[in-house]
């Protein structure tokens, strides 16, 4: 029988579609992948070690640098963990919690906007890429308004948020929320309804329910595989128990479902923000917390539904001002673990799209 020689292809760390510096060594039979090996760590900055030499407060800005497309949610996750450790979860003013929900969901929309954009780029629909970024910029304007920065907000504080919402924020937010549904419709028109896009994604790289659980999928990826779970609904943190929203779940777990779940989530986020806008009370935005953060001895594991999945912080405190050990459970790091399994037998072109559909951010993978 005729047999072609296997080709070893080094995808990355510099490659247009590895979303940064992910590297994957592929064995190709023709253009079909027979074996894939992940190589990570090209962006490993040792944040967990750095945390041990920073005070609790000093570490807040680092969170934005983890998952740099959803900085606000990362900060929130960390702040929430420390608050739990300090036992001040109950004391946070309601207004602060509402603000957190609003900025968190805005950040989720921005993150999914980038997801849509990079997905579009990876199927070479270059124009759709610009649409995703266009709307993300609008969202970032609002986040910049509250925090002063576009990406690295450093807005969350233990016990609340750094500052109250600025004047005119609500008006702008209202305008944006009126605009967004049309934008999402545009996404569906330009890419999701496209015949070629469907051919490229439907049924490609499916992840079954069992496999998703086994590989530790979380968040939208898990929901795309038919597991109905969402921390915001199942273990409501902050004030999420007061909002009504759906948890989009898809059954096939293929690339297309992973995209659709996120698009649906954007719509749900808009709903949540609307409700938060209506229910937001007046009052302070910071609880009374000690000047020097010194959590008691002990440990905490706290998770938050990030744009990519469950972002967990395991903090071990020895009673000093610095964490004894801080572990970041990064959803992307675990999600990427499935890629070698997923890529097997895929066409090279599909593998690139499947990788994009996992929504990886290298800053969070390598930390």
């Amino acid at each position: 029988m005729l047999k072609t020689q296997e080709l070893t292809l080094n995808l990355g760390p510099h490659h247009p579609s590895t979303h940064g510096v992910f590297r994957c060594v592929l064995n190709l039979e023709g253009e079909y992948i027979t074996k894939a090996v992940n190589h990570l760590g090209y962006l490993h900055r040792g944040i967990e070690k750095l945390a041990e030499s920073r005070t609790y407060t000093q570490f807040i800005p680092y969170n934005g640098r983890l998952d740099y497309v959803a900085g606000m949610l990362n900060e929130w996750a960390y702040v929430m963990a420390v608050e739990k450790l300090m036992g001040i979860t109950e004391e946070i003013p309601e207004r602060a919690e509402y603000i957190r929900v609003i900025v968190g969901e805005l950040q989720r929309i921005a993150s999914h906007g980038i997801y849509f954009a990079s997905m579009a780029l990876d199927v070479a629909g270059a124009s759709a890429w610009f649409y995703g970024f266009r709307d993300r910029d609008e969202v970032l304007d609002l986040l910049e308004m509250v925090s002063g920065q576009r990406l690295m907000h450093n807005y969350m504080r233990f016990g609340g948020v750094a500052a109250d919402l600025p004047d005119g924020f609500m008006n702008k937010l209202d305008k944006l929320l009126n605009k967004l549904p049309a934008a999402i419709e545009e996404y569906e028109g330009i890419l999701l309804g496209n015949e070629i896009f469907r051919a490229r994604t439907v049924g490609v790289a499916p992840v079954s329910r069992e496999m998703a659980l086994d590989y530790g999928f979380t968040g939208p990826n898990l929901r795309a595989s038919g597991v109905d779970t969402d921390l915001r609904r199942d273990e409501p943190y902050s004030v999420y128990d007061r909002f009504k929203f759906n948890v989009p779940v898809r059954q096939n777990g293929d690339t297309f479902d992973r995209v659709i779940v996120r698009i649906e989530e954007m719509k749900e986020s808009i709903k949540i923000i609307r409700q938060a806008m209506e229910g937001i009370p007046e009052g302070p935005v910071m609880a009374k917390v000690p000047k020097v953060i010194k959590p008691p001895v002990g440990e905490v594991y706290s998770r938050l539904e990030n744009a990519k999945g469950h972002l967990g912080f395991h903090i071990v405190s020895d009673g000093s001002t610095k964490p004894y050990r801080l572990r970041i459970y990064s959803p992307c790091f675990v999600n990427i673990g499935i890629f070698p399994e997923m890529a097997k037998g895929l066409h090279l072109m599909d593998a690139v799209v499947a990788l994009a559909s996992l929504d990886i951010v290298l800053g969070e993978i390598d930390r």
């Binding site: 659980l213 273990e235 001895v297 499935i338 390598d366």
Partner: protein, 151 residues
């Protein structure tokens, strides 16, 4: 707040099934048990497959360098019962070895490699225990407390 498992009963059942292997671990979270490393894989298998516990998700795998020992911490979660459990394994300070649980959850694969890379804990039976984040010729394991950065 988190739903808490009845740890006493759980430990009792595990001990009955696998011999003396687990005990309640007292800490501030009130959801930890301590398991002997030799029985870890069986215990994890049981925790995952027994519908009474149904810990289908390995939430987190962490390693901590305490002054007296290395501790590997497994955070488990159940999607059906919505309860959580922390499993801790205390390891020798000189030669930290623990059986790999990749056979139970594939999710542990990358996390164990990371713990090996940064903390130097050996996971016996791991299919591919190599450095994952650092370069292959890196000296030492940076997350250990006694590790100092070379100039």
């Amino acid at each position: 707040m988190d739903k808490i498992v009845d740890r006493e009963a759980l430990v009792g059942e595990l001990n009955q099934k696998f011999g003396n292997c687990a005990e309640v671990f007292e800490d501030n979270t009130n959801q930890s048990i301590k398991v002997k490393p030799e029985k870890l894989v069986e215990v994890m298998q049981e925790l995952r497959d027994n519908p009474k516990y149904d810990f289908k998700v390995l939430m987190n795998l962490n390693s901590v360098d305490y002054p007296e020992n290395f501790t590997v911490v497994y955070h488990l979660n159940s999607l059906t019962h919505l309860h959580k459990l922390t499993v801790k394994v205390e390891l020798d300070k000189v030669n930290p070895q623990v059986p790999s649980i990749t056979s139970v959850w594939n999710a542990a694969n990358v996390q164990e490699r990371e713990a090996y890379d940064l903390m130097g804990i050996l996971f016996t039976g791991h299919p591919n225990l190599k450095r994952i984040l650092l370069v292959d010729d890196f000296v030492g394991h940076p997350l250990r407390k006694d590790w100092k950065m070379q100039a």
